[in-house]
């Protein structure tokens, strides 16, 4: 109660005003008329009784009835939604634009009131308020008031976690906003012929494409306010999560509803964090640096034996997004410090703290979640395996980068000995981690004991293309550095052999498909996987280690090379007809090199 009172004091709408039934009737009429006309995407033909200026110029909405409030919130959301869609299409109805501007102008403090509605116990109202607020934030673009974001962040920090789902949802919707979601969701909007509309003029053509209509400005403002309180917010949630340690069965707890809502808030909080560090959110790297700082605290949770499976899974997802290996680190000259630090911590936890043993693969207690009465959570296992492979690849790339930058120093021989010694330590540590991973996967899945990692990753990830390709890139990068150095552990070369992965991958692709070439082209031209990086890496590997590749392919050499040759022909045609979405000449050149090497082999055989 006290908290609610303090909240009211901070809001400009503390003055309680009673409006009479006639005024309520006017509000209802306005909202209904607006909602009805918005479905036609034009507000030019409104009846005289409906004044655009008055629709959102209301006060004390928190005292309204539930139905009236829900109507009001959904019409606010719809107004911003239509305005954003029309802006993205390039033509906007001037009346819709005016109405959205009146709302954003916040003359009566209506936006602040909507912020306060987020904590209402009625889930319908808090949900509608959350959706409306996110749209208002995005629609306001450069007019976004910092005060709204500060109020929202304060709620995040002060309110109990059980009530925070709608607050978290606003942050998530705004930060994950992409124009694509509008374009995909609806085909071209048709406005009535008599609509008074205007063309949206962008001062700079490039800004129109890249700046997502000023949405990145909104995202930056939100992230800047949030980062000042983030450490405290993390601390609050970690404490709250610890209170769940002794309560594994949510249904039997004393306060089942509160616990379920709290549990949901924990999951949503981790998902929000995941979106913030995700490359897909398109946030500036300097802005998200701060959100990497507390990841180590989440790592501590994975060392506990009784963490809820869904929380475990979401923490693993958070780490997977933070370790942006195939999207960024693998192709960067100088890697950022933060993900490298996380990778080092992760490998340490797997090696010394038995993190894998705590993985709740099956329901129950004990190693990997107990007995073998169910099939287990394959997705959880896949995400965990990918995370460990990414962490190992990151550490190795970091060490190799450091050694190559120190190569230019004067005393090269001494340095290279030092680097070699360091690499030997890393190799032994990696070997240890990979052995644990191999044993874990073979206990969870029924793979043959002699199946090497390079082969089982394709079997394990075969139902998820994106992470299958990520894991294959990781094994190539690990093996190229570790397996081809002086005094390397011979076993590692067999375990991580990239050729074994490629052969298994092509075989898996051909199981249900007659035309493997079409599938490979889809992967290469689409942007939903890192296949471009994989094909570059594997073709370079084949070109540089041709004889080893031939030896490993054995009877599969002909079919593998036929696939690569078909790909070469298709790419050649596509490039000639200008049908590729980006420059694919480097891939074509590598394919030509492999093809030349193969022709040499064929000539010798003849």
């Amino acid at each position: 109660m006290e908290e609610q009172e303090t909240m009211n004091k901070t809001l400009p709408l503390a003055k309680k005003q009673k409006i009479n039934e006639n005024e309520y009737r006017l509000v209802d009429l306005n909202v209904d008329t607006i909602s009805l006309n918005l479905t036609k995407h034009c507000l030019c033909q409104l009846p005289e009784t409906c004044m655009l200026k008055e629709v959102f110029r209301v006060k004390n909405v928190s005292s309204w009835t539930r139905e009236r409030l829900l109507n009001f919130l959904s019409s606010a959301r719809l107004t911003c939604d239509i305005a954003l869609k029309q802006l993205s299409e390039g033509t906007i109805c001037t009346s819709v634009e005016r109405l959205s501007n009146y709302l954003i102008a916040n003359k009566t403090g209506i936006v602040n009131e909507i912020v306060s509605l987020l904590t209402r116990t009625d889930p319908y109202i808090s949900y509608a308020a959350s959706n409306a607020l996110a749209e208002i934030f995005v629609c306001s673009q450069n007019k976004l008031d910092n005060v709204w974001v500060v109020e929202l962040t304060d709620l995040f920090l002060r309110r109990s976690p059980e009530t925070l789902c709608p607050v978290i949802a606003v942050f998530k919707r705004v930060l994950c906003w992409r124009d694509a979601q509008m374009i995909d969701s609806e085909k071209n909007i048709k406005m009535p012929e008599n609509c008074v509309s205007r063309k949206v003029i962008f001062e700079d053509e490039e800004i129109e494409m890249d700046d997502e209509f000023g949405i990145s400005l909104v995202k930056t403002k939100v992230i800047e306010v949030l980062q000042t309180q983030w450490q405290m917010i993390v601390l609050k949630f970690i404490r709250y999560m610890s209170s769940f340690d002794h309560c594994t069965d949510l249904n039997n707890s004393d306060e089942p509803f509160n616990h379920k809502m709290g549990h949901l808030a924990i999951v949503e909080f981790i998902k929000l964090w995941t979106s913030m560090v995700s490359i897909k959110t398109n946030l500036n790297v300097m802005n998200i640096k701060y959100f990497y700082a507390d990841l180590g605290q989440m790592l501590i949770l994975l060392r506990r034996p009784k963490v809820q499976p869904v929380v475990w899974k979401n923490i693993i997802n958070l780490f997977n997004e933070s370790l942006c290996y195939t999207t960024t680190l693998a192709v960067q000259g100088t890697m950022q410090e933060e993900p490298c630090m996380l990778a080092r911590e992760l490998v340490k936890v797997v090696k010394t703290k038995n993190m894998l043993n705590n993985m709740p693969f099956r329901k129950g207690s004990g190693e990997y979640g107990g007995g073998e009465e169910d099939d287990g959570d394959k997705k959880l296992l896949q995400d965990t395996v990918l995370l460990i492979l990414k962490a190992v690849a990151t550490i190795i790339k970091e060490t190799r980068n450091e050694s190559s930058s120190s190569d230019s120093s004067a005393d090269e021989s001494e340095d290279s000995e030092e680097v070699d010694a360091e690499m030997a330590i890393i190799e032994s540590s990696v070997n240890d981690v990979l052995r644990k991973l191999d044993s874990c996967v073979k206990k969870c899945m029924s793979y043959l004991p002699e199946t090497p990692i390079a082969q089982w990753i394709v079997q394990l990830f075969s139902d998820r293309n994106d992470i299958l390709i990520e894991s294959m890139i990781c094994t190539i990068d690990i093996s190229l550095v570790l397996c081809y150095r002086r005094n390397s552990i011979p076993m590692l070369r067999h375990v991580l052999n990239p050729t074994a992965s490629l052969v298994e991958f092509l075989q898996t692709l051909s199981y249900n498909n007659d035309n493997v070439n079409e599938l490979i082209l889809d992967l290469l031209l689409g942007s939903d996987t890192s296949f471009l990086l994989y094909i570059m890496r594997i073709l370079k590997f084949i070109g540089n280690r041709w004889s080893e590749f031939c030896l490993c392919c054995d009877t599969k050499l002909q079919s593998t090379m036929t696939t690569l040759s078909n790909l070469q022909t298709s790419l050649d045609q596509l490039i000639k007809n200008d049908l590729t979405p980006y420059n694919l000449n480097p891939v074509l050149r590598l394919l030509v090199k492999c093809s030349t090497l193969y022709t040499g082999v064929e000539v010798i055989n003849v």
């Binding site: 992409r178 995909d184 500036n284 999207t327 192709v331 960067q332 000259g333 689409g526 471009l532 596509l574």
Partner: protein, 75 residues
């Protein structure tokens, strides 16, 4: 995107050495030292592109598949 030219420390003159370039991602400001590395990275920022047939709204992952599909309409 900018270039840094390395100077010879002893002779203080330009060395015929490879010019070090830095390529900056326009979405997140991360830096890369090869143009193709930047291309590989930037593709992750883009939403998945689908090529849609304007006659039946069927969508394709590739432009050549759409062209092939269009031939079916004109028959």
């Amino acid at each position: 995107m900018y270039a840094v030219i390395q100077l010879d420390s002893e002779n203080h003159r330009l060395r015929p050495k490879r010019v070090k370039m830095e390529f900056v991602c326009k979405y997140c400001n991360r830096t890369f030292n090869k143009h193709y590395s930047l291309l590989i990275h930037e593709r992750n920022h883009l939403p998945t592109v689908n090529y849609r047939c304007e006659m039946c709204y069927k969508s394709f992952k590739r432009q050549d598949s759409l062209q092939q599909h269009r031939c079916g309409h004109s028959r």
